[in-house]
Each structure stands twice: as structure tokens, then as C-alpha cells.
Symmetry: C2
Amino acid sequence: MTPNSERFLSDLHQLRTFGAAGVGKGVIRPAYSDADIAARAWLADRMRAAGLTVQQDPVGNLFGLAEGRSLLLGSHSDSQPEGGWLDGALGVIAALEIARTCRENGRPAVSVVSFQDEEGRFGVTTGSAVWSGQIDLSLADTLTDHDGVTFAEARAPLAAGAGDFVDPAQFTGFVEMHIEQGPALDVADEQIGVVTDIVGIRDMRLTFDGRQNHAGTTPMQLRRDAFQAVSAFNTAINGRFQHVVSPRTVWTIGHVALHPNASSIVPGRATFSMQWRDGDADRLARMEAIIRTTAQEVADTGGLGLSFGPLLGLEPVAMDAALRTALEAAAERVAPGRWRAMPSGALHDATNVARLLPVAMLFVPSIKGISHAFDEDTDEDDLVAGLSVLARAVTDLDQDRA
Amino acid sequence: MTPNSERFLSDLHQLRTFGAAGVGKGVIRPAYSDADIAARAWLADRMRAAGLTVQQDPVGNLFGLAEGRSLLLGSHSDSQPEGGWLDGALGVIAALEIARTCRENGRPAVSVVSFQDEEGRFGVTTGSAVWSGQIDLSLADTLTDHDGVTFAEARAPLAAGAGDFVDPAQFTGFVEMHIEQGPALDVADEQIGVVTDIVGIRDMRLTFDGRQNHAGTTPMQLRRDAFQAVSAFNTAINGRFQHVVSPRTVWTIGHVALHPNASSIVPGRATFSMQWRDGDADRLARMEAIIRTTAQEVADTGGLGLSFGPLLGLEPVAMDAALRTALEAAAERVAPGRWRAMPSGALHDATNVARLLPVAMLFVPSIKGISHAFDEDTDEDDLVAGLSVLARAVTDLDQDRA
């Protein structure tokens, strides 16, 4: 079974005309915008033309359903406020191309989905979160965007054309193809990443309370400088984490707020974010213990107060072994020696869908690791390689079942 | 010659009724406010009552002049927007008490000054800066406060009562008594600090330019994290400074601004302040060299860009040896074993006056090192000890000359 790569690329370029930014290939197609609605109407037509039954659910998730039990492929077609042409769109159009190739070949049965608001105008991966039961619709309806519009208001215009929520029991699994959004494949000149797991996230705000003082008259040994505490904490955890982390673990201090934040005043208070991600929940917990212990040691040593904000967390999601094995075998045939197994450091709809179905993910490179920007791009050879891996894996899974 | 400590304390408490904050002994008496103008009118009356000739100059510096050549004592009577009762006021009222005691004893000749806007509503130590020629009056007139009022507008209402600038040639030297505004004397349970020098200040803004990236998908080894650069820089200079600094050197990173400053994004840019103070200009220069070298090393190691803002600086000012010796001898008699020679980490009017005259300074303790706050305070025993040191030094200097 060979998908039509020209038709695939043509549709992918067609999709980026909806909400075209006029800057490179960039798009402005946030969830429920006119451009997003128009793009979904076009997608629905393409699904029908491929012989699929179109069903849009009450929150705007758009399904193109095959008859009977089927594998579900897809991603999302909404974009960031300033987004690239491939983030989400790639997985949707690849799914469409595989589904119609399968229809043309008579089998296997493949359905297509474009989830709504993956980019989080309202929540985080809102459409798939509601479909999967990760959050209740009644709660989601109260979420607001930056302009104060509620999710309920945004989805109301869709009501006329909306059907029920799609029954997940008809699907055997979910595979999402996506750009990597990081630099690993591009740096290594590889074409394919087969995702092992979507990493878990921990995020916590810490505050050191020292003593605000005159930067001229306060001797160094009498200072309780909150910025010095942040720096000491950072240096210490960087060292201690080395005994715990894998090469794929990441951690970030991305937000720092000093008070009063003036050059002539010893900082009296520092609030900062600590975020860490890994595919292993045990490792996330060991890192949390190091963070709490180290912060307390720094506070005690320097005579500062310490407070921890609430720990926000999303659990790691392991990919389904059978789906992943099929993707790996296909990757080795399509791109021998030029693929890798790798975690996803970013969240995806697959995180939610894993509550309902076996899931797997496939990455293609992001040039220079850029995404969520107009200049997000991928070589077309790599896009087609990803499509080929998906087609082979779908065929192999069907043969295993047959 | 023995000053009248009760009269001294009484006047000091009287002065704090002008602009009383109603919180502890705190005052709200910024330069040119109604409270400040009223306080200066009262001070002028007190100067006249002490037999001094009052002369207010065009910017509001208020002098009480003795006849012929005299020593000048004083400080400032304006306050911070939320200030303490002693900052500046102490030096002015001590000068008044010494001057009238001298008049009562027939000698020596002592003049008094309360400089205007030491606290920098418009500039920095504005009144003494203009008098000393540190800045031109025409330039000072263009300075604005936070509400957009110009210095020219603020001083205009004084024009009717203003005389010329006072000729500094009539003064033999300037001695300023002041609260320490730091914790050194209070921590050591000492009563008197004799200032060796007013430290010089260097202040510079540095910027590391890294690469803004996704905190989930960007591996640690591929990051160019601007916050990590600030932390590495801070750790490195703290170590390297140990080979250069004295126990009295201070340095501060008081301002940090990350971009975009979000917990899920690797910081792409960090701008931060680096301020350092010391009494030795050579040491300040050696520290600057360490700062520049270390920042460049951190930038080169991490693949970041680096830029330095302009270096702002005020040179250290050494106190006059003869005046300082007289203060030290008097301190040892008044508070044997309970005084120290020490630098001033804060700026004072004496910095400017040093352009015109030999200067010296005397500190009394600040309880818990607190100043620029309503709860700024000093034991009255220590206030009186400072007055006694000043009186003895003035007498000794007169006898040396005689």
C-alpha cells in the first residue's frame, strides 16, 4: 500500500491557506476562529471525498469515520496565535491520506480526527481532554481565553452542525504523527522519531524570603539575599540531579521575580518557577525530593524563609508496545539507521486519548527545533518519510490481525 | 565645652513633628514639600536664636553662618517619602547644638547647614551637588521627580527669600554626623563610627542573549539558557572576588529580568544589574576586570551573546586626615573601646562637599541597621555620645589651631 505523497503535500499546503499569516508558511488559526472553522469545513469535505462519514462532536472535534472497527489516526488543525503550518496539521493530513489510500486499497479501516483547541486557547489540549473524560464538559465550559470569552460561548455556534460525542469503542488504537518541536532529530540528521512515552511534568513555584537591605551599607556576611539563595539552589540542584537524571530528563527555571528588583537594594524576596519533565514517574518523585531538600538547606544556611507553591503535575504516558513496535519496524525499513526511539517532551492529544485507547506517536524533524513560530518547517522528504512509516505500520498491524 | 544634651534631644524631637507620619517616629518630609519648607523656617529661627546669620541659597540649602572663618557642620533635613526621624536631621540638630554651645562659650566659630534634597527627589544629593559644582544649576533645573515636576519649578517658590550661594572660602572644613544606616555598629554593640572614606560605586547592566526554547523538547545539552548564565556568572564572581575584596567590600545583583519569564520556556535573554562598592578605586577596577572576564567566559562557554551597559561610577572620597584624627581621639575618650574606623557604604552630602573643603564624618548606630523606614531609630545614649564626640573634636581642632 503506497500513499500518494503528492496528494498529501498538496493538501498540506492547501490547509495552510486557511489563516495564512503572510509570513513564510506561517498560520494564524486559533481554535474557533473563522480560519479554523473554514479549515474544518474544508477538512470535512475532504473526509467525505475519501469515503469517510463526517461527525463533529459538541466541542468541535472533527471525525471522519470508517465503517466498523478501525484504527484512529490524526492530531489537531487549530494553531497557536502565531503558529507554523505543520504543528497538528501534519498529523491530520497524513491521517487523511492514509485513510483514503486504505479506502482505495479496500483495507484496512482507518478513521481520521482533528481535535479542537489542542493549542490551549481555553485550557490545555481542550478538545481531546473533554472527549477522553480528562475534564468534564461542564467544567470546560467555564474556561476563558485571554479576552474573557468562555469555552461555552466559543463552541455555541457549532451546535447546529454538531453530533454526539463519538463512541471510542469503535477504535482499536490511536496513532498521532507530529513534528518533533525540538532539535534532536534535526541535529542528528535523522528522519523519524518513534515516541516511547510522553513525559510527565512537575511544576512548582518556590519563594525565598530574605531581608531587603541597603546594597551599600549591609556587609556581605550579614545579608540574607534572596537572589543569592536562588543562585545557590540552582547550582546545587544542577549538581545533585546528575546522580538521578537520564540524558532525556529536562529541568528549567524559566520565571524569576525579585523584590524590589532594584540595583541598589539587596533582594528581600525571590519567587521562581521550577519545572521538570521525565518519562519515569519515580524519577520525577526523586527529583522533587532533591528540590525540596536542597531548597530547605539553602534557606537554613542563609537564614531565609522558604515556601513552596502547589505542585502541578501531569503523569507520564507510555506508548502502547504493539503500536510502537509496528512504528519502529516501519521506521527501520523506510529510514534505516536514521530513526530513533525517543520521548516526547511536549504534551499532545495522545496524552488524553491514552485514557481510552492504546496510543502511539511518530515524529519527523523540526528544522532547528523551531515550532510555535511562523518559521516552523520540515523538509518535504522528511514529511513523506513520516507518511511512509505510518502507511507501513498501519498495513503491518492489519496483517498481524488478519 | 559641654553641649546641652537635653536641648539637643528636645530640638531633634521637635523637628520630627514636621511631616510626622503618625507611625512610630517616622516622617514624611520630602524636599520642597510643605513639611520640609516649614521645618526649614523653624530651623532658620533656631539658627538666628543661636546668634547665627541665616542665608538660604537659590536651591534651598539653608546656612546658619558664624562670623569670619568657621568650621561647617551639618547634613540635611529633607527625608525619604517614607523616612526615619534621624536620617539627616541628626546631623543638622547636632550642628545647631554645637554651634550655639560654641557661641555660649565664645569660641570656636561654627556654622551650620541643612542641604536640600539629599534624598534625591530630583537627582542624587541635589542641593550639595549644585553648591559644590558637581552639577550645573542649569542642568539640575531640568531634573524631574516621579510626578514630572522639574527642579526649577520646585525651587521657584523659594526665590523671594533666597540669597546668593554661600562662598565656601569662609569654611575651614566640613564635618557631618549621621546614622550608620547599616548594622555594623549595632551588631558589635559599639557607639561611634569614624568614617575613613565614602565608598566609590560602580554599577553596570549586563545582558546574556541565549536561545528561547520549549522547556519540554529542548535537551539540556542543546540549551543556551540565559538564566543559567546569570547563575553561573554569580557563582564564579563570588569565588573570584574572594582573592580581591576586603571584609568591607560589597557587591549586589539586585535586579534580574528574564525574557520571556515563563515557567515552560527556556529563558532566551537575561538582563541584570551588577553593583559593587569599595573605598579603594584600584580594587573597584580589579573587580570590574573580574566581572568583564567572567561574564565573557560564561557567555563563550554557553554559546551566548553578552553585552555590557554603560559603567556608572562615583569615585571613593577619603576623609581628611586631620579632621578624622580629631574625631578618633574624641571617640576614644567618649566611648573607649566602643568605636571603630569604618567606611561609609552609603552616599552623603560630604561626598560633594569634599570638592570644596576637607571633610569628615561620624556615625552612630542604626538599630538593626534599619533606615529609610518609619522604624529607623537609635538609642538616645548613642545620639548623645555622638554629640559629645563632635563637641570634643571641634574643641580639639580649635586648640590645635590656637
